[in-house]
């Protein structure tokens, strides 16, 4: 006789949340989306930070000092990846730049984009 596969509501929810919890642990981007959807504020550390840090949101919603405090500890390759992933630079733009130059480029270009796209009336 086949095993009865019916679950009571609590067991069903436990299984669902276990999967979500596990995915959130392993996937910082998913965790970030999940937390944002719930309106929460969560601090990501170390390597997770580069996966979820959004230069537009940080340049637009926080101070320049905070922006630099988030991105300055990152390595050159991480900064290059963020610049590319957010359409803020081409591989050509990135060639031969130091970490400090990349950091300045990240901030200035993100600010410029925000100025172009954010309403000037509101």
């Amino acid at each position: 006789m086949a095993e009865d596969s019916r679950l009571d509501p609590a067991a069903y929810l436990d299984r669902l949340f276990d999967v979500i919890r596990e995915e959130a642990r392993q996937n910082p981007k998913f965790a970030d989306r999940l937390v944002k959807a719930m309106g929460g504020q969560v601090v990501f550390e170390d390597e997770a930070k580069s996966a979820v840090a959004n230069p537009y949101l940080l340049a637009g919603n926080s101070t320049k000092a905070h922006f630099y405090s988030v991105f300055a500890p990152m390595k050159t390759n991480e900064l290059k990846k963020i610049l590319r992933d957010h359409n803020l630079a081409t591989p050509l733009d990135l060639r031969g730049k130091s970490a400090s130059q990349l950091l300045d480029m990240l901030y200035e270009r993100a600010r410029l984009k925000i100025t172009e796209r954010k309403s000037s009336y509101f």
Binding site: Y56, R117, K118, F122
Partner: protein
Amino acid sequence: MGAVIASIANLKGGVGKSTTTVMLADGLAYFYGMNVCTIDLDAQANSSQMLLTEIGVQAAYEQGKGASHLLKQFMNREPANAAPLIMPNAVTLEELRLSEQQDQRQGWVSILPSHPHMRLQELDLEEEWYSKAGTPTQLASALQAHFSEAFDHLRPLYDIILIDCPPHLSPLARAGLALTDIYITPTIADAVCTWGTKQFSDWIGANIAADLPDRNFVVITRFRNTRYARQVASELKELYLNDRVFGPNIPESVHVLNAMDRAAPDSYNTFRGKYGGVKGDVRRLAERFYEFLAKQTGQKWQKIRD
């Protein structure tokens, strides 16, 4: 209490204004039993086509119904009244048709359809107006006065009027926008639509509604679940339009395209059959917009279907 006027508008074309109009009309009628009147002010006539089919649009025009006849009223200096120009049955959902048949109407959709001929009419009107040294702004004001009176005849008949606006600022479009209580802004999560939405927001704010953020409901449409789209959607919600209320993201889907292609003017489908894989998205759109509407107006409707 009279119907609220909500405009579905964005200066950027191709962002899903007509699709959003139809989804909202269906969703509000189906889930909340609302009497919805859609007004198509776009000469492309897309929402008219989606609700009536091409044959239906042509038949309405030939029967003297639609927005082009409203424009004719204005041009001929006739009394303003949109009620006789309405196509009362723009229902495509079987559940609504059946409840009507059983004399238990729970939700209905009517339409003041558009027609491609309206483009030429607008040109004629503008040519005549400008030849008498009138300005576009004066024409927009005169049209606004005519439409306001014409729509006053509709307000007692409906719970909500949804205006599908064209993606430009012609006098006709400006007249519609000026009569609006709630602005629904569909946009796509990409760079060009983000910029287009900013232009729209700035213009409306500066010229029509300085309190736009309080009256603005934004819907991200044609959403493709990619890293780039998620990133831009997040920026829209948290940075560029962080002072607005957002509806759910409507996915880019073949189900949406199918839902907007009515088989024939006498063809009906169940809600589930029409929207298939996006039925949950349409339900969430209706629910979120309903919450926004109830907060804006203080009016409440019972949810009648799940």
